[in-house]
């Protein structure tokens, strides 16, 4: 393939003009996105006196981590004054099983739907896809009732169940579309080698799906961690996830508005999804199956 740079006319004035245009556009977009983050970050490091003095865009006079400490372990949410910490742990306990279970189930059902052509596979897949388009608000009442019957209302376990079920539609879609491109002969070869449905899945198909596992984990983790409505509806008090706790912290009207603590709390609540993006994104490799089949 020809290098675009070596093509005739690729280094002229028009090229330069184009570059300048593209770079300035990107710069404007970056400022628009990073501006608010800068304000939140710098405000969280200022003390209250400095905030009241105005100058929203100034850098903090000194690095002041007291608001972070307070948001994490001292701020009062409702009657408890332990900060975000316990709720943050609630979110971790809620997210990890939800992500793992829904990804595994999605992988298994996607594998079955794409590589085992059983009767009605496409109808089942269409019905599962339907789940992607059901808004949260519709299921709140029936779900609350179901959780009550199951005896897991107002608990983290209940939230895990809700998020797992809700995630299966999406993860199945991801894995099904990935496995559709895997050649059928791989399953046939493994069958001849004596592997059954689950062993083919475990030894061959799951390792093969690493890129889509990463996609599924990022997607599910972001969804579950950031979710607010189910958390607010199905839990109260000590079992609330961090998103609900953050809301309660910021909306409490008992004392002076501590903007710096609010900002720090917001950053703490948002941090895990960012970390997942930064870490998992690096493993987001394409083309693991390249060259697996034909020469």
């Amino acid at each position: 393939m020809a290098e675009p740079k070596t093509l005739p006319g690729a280094n002229g004035k028009r090229y330069l003009l184009g570059r300048v245009f593209i770079w300035s556009l990107l710069l404007i977009a970056a400022v628009l996105y990073l501006g608010p983050i800068y304000v939140v970050l710098s405000t969280s490091l200022k003390d209250l006196a400095e905030i009241r003095a105005g100058a929203l865009l100034d850098l903090p006079h000194e690095m002041n981590f007291a608001p972070w400490r307070e948001a994490w372990s001292q701020a009062c949410i409702g009657v408890r004054c332990d900060g975000l910490q316990p709720y943050f742990m609630n979110s971790v306990i809620m997210s990890v099983p939800s992500v793992v279970i829904s990804t595994l189930i999605g992988a298994l059902s996607g594998y079955a739907l794409s590589l085992f052509h059983f009767r009605g596979a496409n109808i089942i897949f269409a019905l599962m896809l339907f789940g992607c388009f059901i808004p949260f608000q519709i299921v709140i009442l029936p779900m609350a009732q179901t959780l009550g019957y199951l005896g897991i209302a107002n608990s983290i376990t209940g939230l895990i169940v809700v998020h797992t079920i809700y995630g299966i539609s999406f993860t199945t879609l991801f894995f099904r579309n990935y496995y559709v491109s895997v050649p059928q002969e791989l399953v046939r070869a493994a069958t001849m080698d004596g592997a059954g449905f689950f062993r083919i899945f475990w030894h061959i198909m799951l390792p093969l799906a690493l890129p889509i596992i990463v996609v599924s984990v990022i997607w599910q983790f972001t969804q579950v961690w950031n979710e607010f409505l189910f958390g607010a509806s199905f839990t109260s008090g000590g079992s609330q996830p961090v998103t609900v706790a953050l809301n309660n912290l910021i909306n409490s009207t008992t004392s002076v508005k501590q903007y710096n603590v609010d900002m720090a709390a917001a950053l703490i609540a948002a941090a895990p999804t960012l970390v997942v993006y930064i870490i998992a994104g690096r493993f987001f490799v394409r083309g693991l199956t390249a060259g697996a089949v034909k020469g």
Binding site: A189, M192, D193, H203, A292
Partner: protein, 370 residues
């Protein structure tokens, strides 16, 4: 011992019949090639033997035992796929050992078995690589290794060489033949390449539209093709078909062969043996099947062989032989002559015709009649 016996097998996908009442026997240690163009049902037949596709009607026996409902893994069969189907996430060593792993062999046994197969196929140096790091030929060897390592009683090959380049294909063909001679295992091999079929097979089964057209040794298929489809499929360049009339001249039975000499039409008479099937059919039209090597320069023919002289329209040198395009009964036909005697295009030349090997087909049923 490993025999395969298929009786009245039928199979359809939706409304298309893929196999129609197929009956076939494979002897112990035999190399059977299923030959046919794409869509003739040969791969489906192979998958049915493997157990990967269920049989709709009929029975399939391995060693005399009905295996219609036996799972593929319990049939003691190994298969090499067209795409090789190597497991991309595993090393070559684990790819080869996977079948043993699934059958709960110990680690040491697996290792020993893999070493043995790897040295047989000369891929010892590749054992720690992943399939994506191998060339096409190396992948092919690994796929063979995966089949060999279990020492199954039957091997199935589904167009294993069709993804290789011409040179490598020739080499691997020889190796597969050698392998068959050493292992003396029963093998069924699917291909659309008639050269592969001719060189490898003990017997060839030619299929078309889900029906076996003919089963026989490569020589039988080549010299006495059951019908015009088989005759045209096997051999390169294919057999020439010329529509002629049966006749009797001076008490000699034969056919009238119109040709072109110096731009003018001319008729030759080819005397033929009058068999029972042909008797009394004078005046009727038949299709004469002439392989290019049956029309050769008159210096090479037997002195008793009939000769014809006709115009050569085109000359195709292939190295060992030169093909001359002539016109017989209005249709183009190819003659295979030595490059030493080939004339220039547009000139005329004397050919000798080997009538002893001629095939005659019925024009309507397309079946061999003499």
């Amino acid at each position: 011992m490993a025999t395969i016996s298929i009786e009245h097998a039928s199979k359809s996908f939706g409304s298309t019949e893929v196999l129609r009442d197929i009956s076939l026997d494979v002897k112990d240690g035999e190399f059977l090639v299923l030959l046919g163009s794409s869509g003739c049902g040969k791969s489906t037949l192979l998958n049915i033997i493997a157990g990967l596709d269920p049989l709709a009607d009929g029975t399939i026996r391995l060693d005399g035992e009905v295996v219609n409902d036996v799972h593929p893994k319990n049939r003691d069969i190994a298969m090499v796929f067209q795409s090789y189907a190597l497991y991309p996430n595993m090393t070559v060593e684990r790819n080869i050992a996977f079948g043993l792993e699934m059958r709960k062999y110990s680690k040491a046994e697996r290792k020993a078995a893999v070493r043995e197969v790897a040295s047989l196929l000369q891929i010892e140096h590749l054992l720690s690589r992943k399939p994506s790091q191998l060339s096409g030929g190396q992948r092919q060897r690994v796929a063979m290794g995966r089949a060999l390592v279990r020492r199954p009683k039957i091997f199935l090959f589904d167009e294993p060489l069709s993804n290789l380049d011409a040179k490598l294909r020739g080499e691997m063909r020889t190796e597969i033949k050698k392998l068959h001679q050493t292992l003396k295992a029963t093998m069924v091999y699917v291909t659309h390449d008639q050269i592969e079929a001719m060189t490898l097979a003990d017997r060839i089964a030619i299929m078309r539209d889900g029906v076996i057209q003919q089963i026989g040794t490569p020589q039988q298929i080549y010299s006495t093709p059951a019908n015009m489809y088989v005759a045209g499929f096997v051999g390169a360049p294919p057999m020439n078909f010329v529509e002629v009339e049966l006749a009797r001249r001076k008490d000699q039975f034969g056919v009238i062969l119109p040709a072109v000499l110096k731009g003018q039409p001319i008729e030759y008479f080819l005397p033929l043996q009058e068999t029972e099937q042909l008797a009394g059919r004078e005046g009727s039209k038949v299709v004469l099947g002439l392989r290019p090597e049956m029309i050769t320069h008159n210096a090479f023919g037997q002195s008793s062989a009939p000769e014809i002289e006709c115009d050569v329209e085109l000359v195709e040198p292939t190295g060992a032989d030169t093909l001359c395009l002539i016109r017989l009964a209005g249709q183009p036909a190819k003659a295979r002559v030595s490059p030493l005697f080939a004339c220039e295009p547009g000139e005329s030349m004397r050919f000798s015709i080997d009538t002893s090997r001629i095939c005659l087909f019925d024009g309507k049923t397309k079946q061999l009649i003499g």
